[in-house]
């Protein structure tokens, strides 16, 4: 066994070295940025107006359009540009306004559609979780994944969004979002630090705005992803009432607070402008904001709830509790991988202007990290346990995707491969650590997939960001591109470590305290009787699979061995 372990570790190290050397080559081959070609001198305005009039005259007539346009060559012309003064016809300002609106329209469409993809990830989470649990808890698990969407959405609408994004004005991709301009700040050591946003509750008043609606939808589905993570770690014994209240509070307070600090102009984002740490805390699509927040909360709640009956023996050793549908697990993983193309590329909040064309790189980085995450997990399990474990393979792709979420906007494809490969191995090691050392029962590996690899993703920005991304020339108010330690900026690594420290020290603690209060008032866990019978009937009043027959479980899983 030791020999096998040595071979695995040796092979892993060699693989990393090969990838790292590729990275070096890729880095050395990076061409210096070329100056944009000198713009041609603009024609005088009078001339432009004449050309516009000329174009209007040449535009297809009504008669031509009535005969159809099978080739698509005459649809969409100057006639489709609205003129402010119909008598004067289309003028240069009209064209400029239309160009501006087109940019915003492209970005709105992009952000909304990628948001819809992220929303669909809820289905993937439901399938993965339910498949990994026993059939007697199927309805309860599906219902948690279903109801968490509602709980989170409502809480986010009434207050969560305001806390997170209430001071996030200034995103020119979505028209400026100027109505989100109220951030509560405190002065510490002569610097102003943002703590939470204050505008946008109920999306009422001046936040009843088209741009705000787009950012609300996009941020809401991210928040819901974080909430869903917790249900996986605590399933098969979490009281539905406690789950509902816990999810509402997480969607209203815990998640939005960290979201504000990282994405809403809060103090973590200000680490660059206030104390000179790189570009401030950088988390492109949410390894920290979404996944690590969900992961550390999952750890806190599963500690409080305790392990399932039968998971551990009297001597502390653990028993495997096999799920009921591996096909649901793997199909769910594919749905999640599909949804991740909304998660990461969508986080540019646009496809036009401000460097948003990097969406291609971001999508490829996302694919590659998922790929190498799967490879890492499969090879690790195969070499060490003798079989390419299916559930761990699923966790491998998810781990790679979680880890690339924060750096996806800042790293090269080679960097993405390295990040994913490490994540794939890390998730296997972490699952074993959580189960056998911490004695925390995490049936789906949510703490490892989202918590451990969320933190790894945040860290990897500080190591592997290659300094080539340029989203409008600055990030978090600091001019330049995000650059990690291996590309010359050690201070970015410190900013990322401050974020990690905040996730472990503050967000975990806050989640723990909130859920201890819920434990005091409500009780987090179902009764022993309900747990043994399965939660479908006691908690939901309906079996997930009513036509299945009953068969006794082994005594060890009834806590009687």
């Amino acid at each position: 066994m030791k020999k096998t372990r040595f071979r695995v570790v040796f092979g892993f190290v060699v693989g990393l070295l090969v990838l790292a050397s590729c990275l070096g080559v890729a880095h050395s081959q990076t061409a210096p940025a070329t100056a944009p070609a000198a713009a041609a001198p603009a024609p005088p305005t009078g001339s432009a107006d004449a050309e516009l009039k000329d174009a209007t005259g040449k535009a297809p007539t009504m008669m031509q359009l009535q005969s159809g346009d099978p080739g698509g060559t005459i649809t969409g012309t100057i006639n489709d540009v609205p003129a402010a003064d119909t008598k004067a016809g289309v003028t240069l300002p009209d064209v400029a306004n239309q160009v501006g609106q087109n940019k915003i329209a492209v970005n709105f469409t992009w952000t909304l559609i990628t948001g819809f993809l992220v929303m669909f990830m809820q289905a993937g989470f439901a399938m993965v979780e339910s498949g990994l649990f026993r059939v007697k808890n199927a309805n309860h698990t599906y219902m948690m994944n279903f109801f968490v969407y509602t709980c989170g959405l409502f809480a986010y609408w009434i207050i969560g969004f305001a806390i997170q994004m209430g001071g996030a004005a200034g995103n020119s991709n979505l028209g400026g979002l100027q109505s989100l301009s109220s951030e509560h700040t405190v002065s510490i050591f002569g610097k102003m630090w943002g703590l939470w946003g204050q505008s946008g509750m109920f999306l009422a008043g001046h936040t009843y705005d088209v741009g705000v609606m787009v950012i609300f939808l996009f941020e809401m589905v991210f928040m819901d992803t974080a909430l869903t993570i917790v249900t996986g770690a605590c399933a098969e014994r979490w009281k539905f009432l406690a789950f509902a209240v816990s999810s509402v509070i997480m969607g209203a307070i815990t998640y939005p607070l960290f979201g504000n600090w990282a994405w809403g102009g809060g103090w973590l984002a200000q680490l660059g402008t206030n104390v000179g740490l790189g570009k401030g805390y950088c988390d492109f699509a949410g390894s920290g904001v979404v996944h690590a927040v969900g992961g550390v909360t999952a750890l806190a709640v599963s500690m409080i709830v305790g392990p399932r009956i039968g998971k551990y023996n009297r001597d502390g050793s653990s028993n495997p509790i096999i799920g009921h549908d591996i096909s649901a697990v793997l199909i769910g993983c594919f749905i999640l991988a599909f949804g991740w193309f909304g998660f990461n590329p969508g986080s540019t909040l646009g496809a036009s202007a401000n460097g948003s064309l990097r969406i291609g790189t971001i999508a490829v980085d996302t694919m590659l990290a998922g790929c190498t995450g799967t490879i890492g997990a499969i090879l690790y399990m195969w070499a060490l346990k003798g079989k390419p474990d299916a559930s761990m393979s699923g966790n491998g792709i998810l781990a790679g995707l979680v880890a690339i979420t924060a750096p996806s906007g800042f790293v090269s494809p080679t960097g993405a491969c390295i990040i994913g490969l490490i994540a794939g191995v890390l998730v296997c090691v972490s699952c074993s650590f959580v189960e056998n050392v911490l004695k925390v029962d995490d049936p789906v590996g949510a703490i490892s997939v989202h918590g451990t690899n969320g933190l790894w993703g945040v860290l990897s920005v500080g190591l592997l960001a290659d300094g080539t991304s340029n989203y409008g020339g600055s990030w978090n108010g600091v001019t330049g591109s995000v650059t990690g330690l291996f590309y010359g900026d050690a201070s970015q690594l410190v900013a990322q470590l401050v974020g990690i420290s905040t996730l472990i020290g503050v967000i975990f603690t806050l989640s723990l305290v909130i859920n201890l209060v819920i434990e005091f008032f409500i009780g987090q866990r179902v009764s022993i009787e309900s747990e043994l019978a399965g939660l479908d009937m006691p908690e939901m009043g309906q079996l997930g699979y009513p036509e299945f027959v009953f068969r006794p479980e082994p005594a060890v899983l009834m806590g009687q061995a």
Partner: protein, 144 residues
């Protein structure tokens, strides 16, 4: 116990209460906002005490016995690590110095999170709470 009508009723009250509470916060600057806020707070308190009242109906659970003092200690250690990290930002302007403070802070927090708290929540007693008083009820599996 299991899910009951009382749970549903108090959850509805809680849900309404936090909505009213948030409305009070949103319109705090206006006169009626303060009144709405107070009504929301009272309703939240009522729902919490309702939850507390029906909590014993759940019956015995398999949650391991914990150590309250150790839980508090773990929370303070976890939070203390973060303070070390933040203090480092103001103590030294050098990147290596801040890096060391951040790493030390994370290490301290990890001691609290994965060292102290699992023990506080019964890591050493897992699997010892047997369920012999309950009959081995049937579970469901596929009828192949």
């Amino acid at each position: 116990m299991a899910a009951t009508k009382s749970q549903g009723s108090y959850l509805a009250l809680f849900w309404t209460a936090i909505t009213v509470l948030c409305a009070g916060v949103a319109y705090f600057a206006e006169g009626f906002g303060k009144l709405v806020l107070v009504i929301g707070l009272v309703a939240v308190a009522m729902s919490l005490f309702g939850f507390l009242k029906i909590k014993p109906e759940e019956g015995e659970t398999a949650t391991p016995e914990g150590l309250a003092a150790l839980k508090i200690a773990g929370i303070f250690v976890a939070l203390g690590g973060w303070f070390v990290t933040i203090a480092g930002l103001h103590i030294t302007p050098s990147v290596p110095g801040r890096l060391v403070f951040a790493l030390v802070g994370i290490a301290i927090s990890l001691v609290g999170v994965i060292g102290v708290l699992p023990v506080a929540f019964g890591k050493k007693t897992v699997g010892r709470k047997l369920t012999a008083s309950f009959p081995a009820k049937a579970s469901m599996e596929h009828s192949r």
